[in-house]
């Protein structure tokens, strides 16, 4: 079985490890670029949301690279994401590709579990257990690297050195085959990041919370590598979500994530009374929390026509004024230009710098809860 799946930030590292430990040959498509999006958009319905188009582009690449099985989460969701796999796979079949689908969620646990019976050597349950441990260990390692690089990037002496170290570190983890080797790769990778030359005399960086639709926040090809851009502008970014949370939230194995979700829902409740099926609670609560913790601003990212985030965008101006926190909305689609985004980002950062000069940082906001 040559299995592949669409990208979502650095999730491919943990996902490849899961699948290869289940005995599958894993095909990882190249990280998506604007070109991937264009290819995806060519085959996708015109006004479907952008992550659909990126995923579809990834799938096309995978099939060209010889994948014979495409995996995707699917099933009953309140939002379009729940139907991505079903529609994408149909589009690809209509285009003449032949492959096997694993629609996790729609196909049922039993089906997916047994799917790997032929590929797992020995006991299937043990195989899954082993695969899950590797998956988890890699996801955690990647998360640690992402956090670390975020913390040092605004201080790097030479522009781009953090990202280079991060890329190298990530590939160490990606290639580590055993649990011990993952641990060793992690310390090696952290070492690489520690070696990045820093200029600690810089002024306190601006602090910006990054939130919105989850792909828009976590997938660099979709958001023009926003995290790196911000860091290289000397800004400390705080994404409300992470690939780790995205992977483990549905599994409900990590109580920290469950508690965080519960809290976010509670904070967002006065503004959004019911579940909408996206990241709306994290968007609203994240903005309020950013104001309360004295961040300088909020960057709200979402794909063109994204339903839950359109609702958030409608509500955010009110929160912006009630909690006195500047919010920049960036609506992303396949036509968005990198220069346009860069210009708006620079203007926003300038505004925040001026604002910071007028008031001391880390002021704790008093606002109604």
């Amino acid at each position: 079985m040559k299995v592949s799946f669409p990208h979502m930030g650095n999730a491919y590292i943990a996902l490849s490890s899961l699948l290869s430990n289940l005995g599958a040959e894993v095909i990882v498509p190249p990280r998506p670029t604007r070109k991937t999006i264009d290819i995806g958009a060519l085959h996708a319905p015109e006004f479907v949301c952008l992550p659909f188009k990126v995923n579809l582009g990834d799938n096309l690449r995978s099939l060209q690279m010889g994948a014979d099985t495409l995996a995707m989460v699917s099933g009953m969701w309140a939002c379009r994401f729940g139907y991505y796999g079903r529609v994408q796979h149909q589009i690809l079949r209509d285009a003449g590709f032949e492959f096997d689908s694993i629609l996790l969620g729609r196909d049922g646990i039993g089906y997916v579990y047994n799917k790997f019976r032929p590929t797992v050597e020995g006991n299937l349950t043990l195989g899954w257990f082993r695969a899950f441990r590797h998956f988890k260990r890699k996801a955690e390692a990647v998360d640690k690297l992402e956090i670390k690089s975020r913390q040092i990037r605004p201080f790097e002496g030479r522009r781009g050195s953090t990202s280079r170290a991060l890329t190298e570190g990530l590939s160490l983890i990606h290639e580590a085959p055993s649990l011990e080797q993952i641990d060793a790769a992690l310390s090696g990778a952290l070492g690489l990041l520690e070696d990045v030359e820093l200029d600690r005399d810089r002024e306190e960086p601006l602090r910006i919370a990054v939130l919105g639709e989850i792909y828009a926040v976590l997938e660099p090809s979709l958001n023009f590598d926003i995290e790196r851009r911000l860091g290289e502008m000397g800004v400390m970014s705080y994404p409300v979500m992470s690939v780790y949370k995205w992977l483990f939230r549905p599994l409900k194995t990590d109580p920290r994530i469950t508690i965080d979700e519960y809290r976010a829902r509670r904070i967002a409740k006065p503004y959004i009374a019911y579940v909408l099926g996206g990241e709306e609670h994290q968007t609203i609560a994240g903005t309020i929390n950013a104001a309360r913790s004295g961040y300088d601003g909020v960057l709200h990212l979402y794909p063109f026509t994204c339903m839950p985030e359109n609702i958030c965008r409608t509500i955010l101006p009110r929160i912006e004024s009630e909690f006195d926190i500047p919010v920049l909305n960036l609506c992303l689609d396949e036509h968005a230009s990198p220069t346009g985004v860069a210009t708006r980002l620079e203007a926003f950062v300038d505004l925040l710098r001026q604002r910071r000069r007028k008031r001391p940082p880390a002021r704790i906001m008093k606002a109604r809860s």
């Binding site: 006004f47 479907v48 529609v87 503004y271 909408l276 994204c306 339903m307 839950p308």
Partner: protein, 339 residues
């Protein structure tokens, strides 16, 4: 008497007779916004996020039309509208509608946030809660609810007969709100034309004459008999859906079931899928309809995307082209199906 305003948009097309009758039974006067027009739509567009769907923009326009005229604004929150197995929802925007309105418009009268969430709470409880907020309880509340349910039942019967919503509303509300038989206003719709065309799309698009550019009329003028999804009984929809499981948006299920029904009928010559620009659920379901439901044997299927910029001329051209296509393909088939 307190005046309660109901916007003529979105859930209006489903529930207006019910709400009006209920509110009147509770002693309120109901005011409906005017029909959609250029200014009303522009007002809505101006107060909305650019990339939100047209029907929500229209809803905003209708809310703004009522603001100075009423003491309360009635805004529904449709969370779930189907009982039955599995989680079902409406679209996120229908769930978050009151939240959006409350947070983005200023100077609004107080809002009656009417929750329809039948998976977790019977409609009766929502209605009772509303009655309570009007200080009406006991037998009077019960009577108001009973009357309202009866009117809604008559309304649905009219729709099933093929009467368009505005006419059906008039029919059921003009004869005393609930005990007359509204069915006399149901004319036989099919007749006259030489073509049968089915319109599949949300009622708030298809039946808003302004945004749809009078689509049903246009088709009729071109010699078509028009069928609507409101004419497809829910049992038929359910049956069709058995072949396309796994959708949890209730209203999209209706579109899917109706499309499947129309596409398999040999007396239907063409199906028009009417979808709103920037509508999330439609972007998925239209793809499922064209890829999973349509077969080689299906009658021609056309997708018409409507937005606030779609002009009269644009719709006319597309509709004429579609009707031409059907007529031409017909003359080419020498032996038409016996039906």
């Amino acid at each position: 008497m307190v005046k309660v305003g109901i916007p003529r948009a979105l859930s209006y097309y489903r529930y207006f007779p019910f709400w009006k009758s209920l509110l009147e039974g509770l002693g309120a006067e109901v005011v409906v916004s005017r029909h959609t027009g250029k200014h009303l739509l522009e007002d809505g567009v101006r107060h909305c996020v650019d990339d939100i769907c047209v029907p929500v923009k229209l809803f905003y326009g209708h809310v703004l039309d009522l603001v100075d005229k009423v003491d309360y604004l009635f805004i529904s929150r449709l969370v779930s509208v189907e009982k039955g197995e599995g989680d079902t929802y409406t679209c996120p925007k229908l769930i978050g509608l009151p939240d959006m309105i409350k947070s983005s418009l200023s100077g609004l009268p107080p809002i009656i946030d009417f929750v329809v969430d039948v998976q977790n709470m019977p409609l009766k409880s929502s209605a009772k809660r509303l009655a309570g907020s009007f200080g009406v309880t006991g037998a009077r509340a019960k009577r108001a609810l009973g009357g309202a349910l009866e009117v809604e039942r008559l309304y649905q019967a009219e729709l099933l007969n093929g009467v368009p919503p505005e006419e059906a509303i008039e029919a059921v509300l003009s004869n005393g709100g609930g005990n007359g038989s509204g069915s006399r206003a149901g004319p036989e719709r099919t007749g006259g034309g030489d073509l049968n065309i089915a319109l599949v799309g949300h009622e708030y698009l298809v039946f808003d004459p302004f945004i749809s550019n009078n689509l049903p009329r246009k088709l009729e003028r071109l010699g078509a008999n028009v069928s609507f999804i409101t004419q497809v009984p829910s049992a038929v929809v359910e049956e069709e859906l058995a072949r396309y499981p796994g959708i949890s948006w209730s209203y999209e299920k209706e579109l899917l079931g109706a499309a499947s029904h129309f596409l398999s009928r040999d007396d239907i010559d063409g199906v028009m899928l009417v979808i709103g620009f920037a509508c999330g659920p439609d972007s998925i379901i239209s793809e499922i309809i064209t890829r999973e439901v349509r077969t080689e044997k299906s009658p021609p299927l056309m997708t018409l995307v409507l937005d606030e910029h779609t002009g009269e001329a644009g719709v006319a051209t597309r509709v004429e082209a579609f009707v031409d296509l059907i007529r031409r393909s017909r003359t080419r088939t020498t032996a038409p199906d016996p039906n």
